[in-house]
């Protein structure tokens, strides 16, 4: 790993995602490192071409600054680079003796970042199970049973272990995780391949807190690489919490999966406090576009589109994630993003049970081109807890790469230097809980900008207040009845940071209730989103 902090030269930070190559230029200006420029381009564009463009952009904007940097003669080929990679999720075959035992394992795998295909000895023909394991697209095997195999499982375990042992001789590249009672059959599998080092015994799908956590950790560790951007993002979340001394949550949605990470300043004696869950199913468009995926996206779509057409458009979005990013394409992308995010939140109730964060950071290519107010609304739509949170965007996509720096102190120092540059403030979201419908809720007076703004609060609706980036305002809420906003009460004074999307006071239900009828749902969602598909007035935007 390169000692990036001590290197006096400018540093390129590159995040090579499945869909996007993001590049940033960091250099020491005066006493600290600053983020000077960043760019994102489709992953098919060569990294060097992206860096050339980045340098050219900076040269065009501030030639003096560029000439003062201590660039090597040819910065693109000889400059210092810190690089992280998001690879497409690999596929694990999940095998059980019984159908009953499969669901628990599958739910653990769904939180581990793997794509999965499943089979059971009880239901599937052994030839088709063997074919699945021999498929080159399968990169690992998880075979499991309860810690104490049930009576219904015992008969199938011998078959299962013999089948895996046979496959192991033909696929020596295949890591094998044996969970629960399957671990007792390790000798059968090793018997045919005694030299294998990647046969891993593991606890069953109920072990740990939350259930399956021990197995999940083992699955996450199988084949993880040091330059993995998603792992780096999780680590950066924890570093960010330490630097800012705040509770931080990170929501990443990309083409290869999603990540939810939550961190806070650790209690005395603990090295860190971080929980992170990755999911291949929380990709912007999962690799397999099944009926469930269509349902999820249709739930959040503001456009009338039949299922076949929606499937075709999702196929296109999957194949060309950067294409058709404006107009209707932007709305489709936002529906897919909502669906992915909602899936991620569903998969992580343990993270939702943690105290509400002070700061939510959104990251990943899925957010890259959406207008800021829409991003803030998407977060409020899906992450629904009574709280006041600031929302920011890892706009230059450098958190993932920084998190891969092995030396913790080095990574933390870099984040401390760059934190103001790398997080684009999207605004603040306030979601009071316990509002009574049908009655005026109260009002809020926001002070700190040019003049105090007073907004009447209507339950079930959204209230927006212009609060530009850099402004710290005080919001005095006065509710007519008791509500929950961190604590229970009627009057709250909250300090809020401005952002590109301003302040959003969200008075809708917790959890959000949407009409079952598709046309009514579309109308409601469009009503919330339509005003936001434009830049705020203070930025000179209009319809």
């Amino acid at each position: 790993m390169k000692p990036v902090i001590r290197d006096p030269h400018p540093l390129f930070i590159v995040d090579r995602g499945s869909a996007t190559t993001a590049a940033a230029l960091v250099a020491r200006v005066d006493d600290r490192r600053r983020l000077l420029a960043s760019i994102a381009a489709p992953a098919s564009i060569p990294v060097d071409a992206v860096l050339e463009h980045l340098v050219a952009t900076l040269r065009s904007a501030d030639p003096d600054l560029l000439s003062n940097l201590r660039f090597p003669a040819d910065p693109i080929t000889s400059g210092v680079r810190l690089e992280a990679v998001s690879r497409p999720p690999r596929t694990i075959a999940v095998l059980t003796a019984t159908v009953r035992g499969h669901a628990a394992l599958a739910s653990v795998v769904a939180r581990s970042g793997w794509n999965q295909v499943g089979a059971t000895i009880e239901q599937d023909d052994p030839r088709s199970v063997a074919a699945r394991l021999l498929d080159p697209a399968v990169s690992a095997v998880l075979a499991g049973a309860d810690q104490r195999a049930g009576a219904d499982e015992r008969g199938g375990l011998a078959d299962l272990s013999a089948l895996i042992a046979a496959v192991a001789t033909r696929r020596p590249d295949l890591p094998i995780v044996l969970a629960g009672a399957m671990a007792n059959h390790e000798s059968v599998i090793r018997g045919t391949s005694p030299d294998r080092v990647d046969v891993l015994p593991a606890p069953d799908a109920r072990s740990g807190t939350p259930p399956g956590e021990h197995l999940r950790e083992i699955l996450v560790g199988v084949g993880r690489r040091d330059d993995d951007a998603r792992w780096g993002l999780a680590r950066s979340t924890e570093l960010l919490a330490s630097v800012l001394d705040r509770r931080v949550e990170l929501l990443e949605v990309g083409m290869s999966g999603g990540l939810r990470a939550a961190a806070s300043v650790p209690a005395a004696g603990r090295p860190y406090d971080l929980a992170a869950i990755t999911s291949a199913g929380a990709a912007l468009v999962p690799a397999r576009i099944d009926e469930e995926t269509i349902d999820r996206v249709a739930t959040w779509s503001t456009e009338h589109v039949d299922r076949h057409r929606l499937r075709d458009r999702l196929h296109e979005l999957r194949a060309h994630p950067w294409a058709d990013a404006a107009g209707d394409g932007a709305r489709l992308r936002m529906a897919a993003l909502h669906a992915a995010l909602a899936h991620l939140i569903e998969l992580t109730p343990d993270l939702s049970a943690r105290p509400s964060p002070d700061l939510i950071v959104v990251a990943g290519g899925a957010w890259a081109v959406a207008p800021a107010p829409i991003i803030a609304l998407a977060v409020a739509d899906v992450v629904r807890r009574p709280a006041a949170v600031q929302v920011a965007h890892d706009h230059a996509r450098i958190l993932g790469a920084i998190g891969t720096i092995a030396d913790r102190a080095e990574a933390q120092a870099l984040i401390a230097d760059l934190v103001d540059d790398m997080l684009a403030p999207l605004g603040s979201v306030v979601i009071p809980g316990g509002l009574r419908t049908g009655l005026p809720a109260g009002s809020v007076v926001v002070s700190g900008s040019d003049r105090p703004a007073r907004v009447e609060l209507v339950p079930g609706g959204l209230a927006f207040v212009d609060l530009p980036p850099g402004i710290v305002a005080t919001a005095d809420f006065e509710f007519r009845g008791p509500v929950v906003l961190g604590a229970s009460g009627r009057r709250f004074q909250v300090e809020l940071a401005g952002g590109l999307g301003g302040l959003l006071v969200d008075l809708r239900d917790i959890p959000l209730r949407l009409p079952d009828r598709q046309d009514l749902r579309r109308e409601l969602l469009a009503g919330w989103q339509d005003p936001l598909w434009q830049e705020p007035a203070w930025l000179g935007g209009g319809p």
Binding site: I39, S44, R59, A130, A158, E316, D324, P371
Partner: protein, 347 residues
């Protein structure tokens, strides 16, 4: 903001063009993969050269698992290993006591599970090439020393036939235009194809379809048809579909259509993995696309082609989205500003 100043153009490219996603028109050589399942019998070995029509494998159409007791006189010997071929006329898997030629899967509790079947389809090579690797139950890796036109997706089986242009780049073929006169051909059917045309083409003995886009409904129909054919008792003719673009309708790009026109009347092969139309006649001269030709691949102007004029900087597009853009001169003299990611160029 115009940001062309200072960009070092890639050799031979107009400034900024290196930021436009590139599409490869002709790839060579081609590394292909033919998937095998347990019970399928490879008929070639690594390092072997094969020519068009050579038998590569016998694939089971009705593969299933059968059992052979270790006590059976014809049971596999003690040295038998999973993946080995095994045959017996005195097994007990079938009513007549014959499990035929099978592949050993695994042994448990004194019985071997074997992958076997009664109906075998011979897999013939649609192209000439060299076998790189053979792994029973997994697949055959081949290298084809020929040029290929890559697609985005292929369904069905590897096939070979005489290429025929049945519809223009932006056109569509009606089912009524499909008759037995097209038997044995690989048809280029224009921008899109519907399920009826595909069904009729298969019934008429057409070997393959090359199409600009294939909607998911049609894709589902093709896969279902494949499953039905596999379940049939009679031998089926291989049939493949090569998709050049994606799911939404758009004309076949001019550089691709130019290549297809140059191949009209000639024999071509079609591989499924990777999805490629193989041009194994080294004599055929293929047109080279202009490096400045760009095509609008998606968005409101999808399918339109023009000439690259240069970068336009970050532009605001519909729905308040800001994207890096480029300028494209169209044939009618107008100029469009298009998001870079909506463009593609050819090489």
């Amino acid at each position: 903001m115009i940001i062309e100043a200072g960009v070092r153009p890639a050799p031979g490219l107009a400034p900024g063009l290196e930021l436009v996603p590139v599409r490869t028109v002709i790839a060579a050589p081609i590394d292909g993969f033919l998937r095998l399942r347990p019970g399928d019998r490879p008929l070639v070995t690594a390092g072997e050269a094969f020519s068009v029509g050579a038998a590569l494998a016998d694939a089971l159409r009705d593969g299933e698992t059968r059992e052979v007791a270790r006590a059976d006189p014809a049971a596999p010997g003690p040295d038998a290993r999973p993946g080995d071929r095994w045959s017996s006329l005195v097994g007990e898997g079938r009513p007549d006591g014959d499990v035929g030629s099978a592949e050993l899967l695994y042994e448990v509790a004194g019985r071997w599970r074997v992958a076997a079947g009664d109906l075998v389809d011979r897999v013939e090579a649609p192209v000439s090439g060299i076998v790189r690797d053979v792994r029973p139950g997994v697949g055959i890796r081949i290298t084809v020393p020929a040029r290929g036109l890559p697609g985005t997706e292929a369904l069905g089986s590897p096939v070979r036939g005489r290429l025929e242009i049945a519809a223009p780049a932006g056109g569509e073929l009606r089912a009524g235009a499909m008759d037995v006169g097209r038997r044995g051909t690989v048809l280029v059917v224009g921008a899109r194809v519907d399920a009826e045309v595909l069904t009729r083409a298969r019934a008429m003995g057409v070997r393959g379809i090359v199409v600009g886009s294939l909607a998911s409904k049609e894709r589902r129909d093709v896969l279902a048809s494949d499953e039905r054919q596999a379940a049939a008792r009679h031998r089926i003719e291989p049939f493949g579909v090569l998709v050049l673009d994606g799911s939404l309708r758009r004309p076949i790009a001019t550089p691709l259509m130019d290549v297809l026109r140059a191949l009209a009347g000639r024999e071509v092969g079609m591989l499924i993995d990777p999805p490629t139309l193989v041009i194994d006649d080294p004599e055929v001269a293929l047109p080279t696309p202009s490096p400045e030709l760009v095509r609008i691949r998606s968005g409101p102007h999808a399918g339109i082609e023009g000439r690259w004029l240069g970068l336009a900087g970050v532009r605001r597009f519909a729905a308040g989205v800001h994207l890096e853009a480029g300028r494209v001169a169209l044939a009618d003299g107008t100029t469009l500003t298009v998001a870079l990611a909506d463009l593609e160029r050819f090489q």
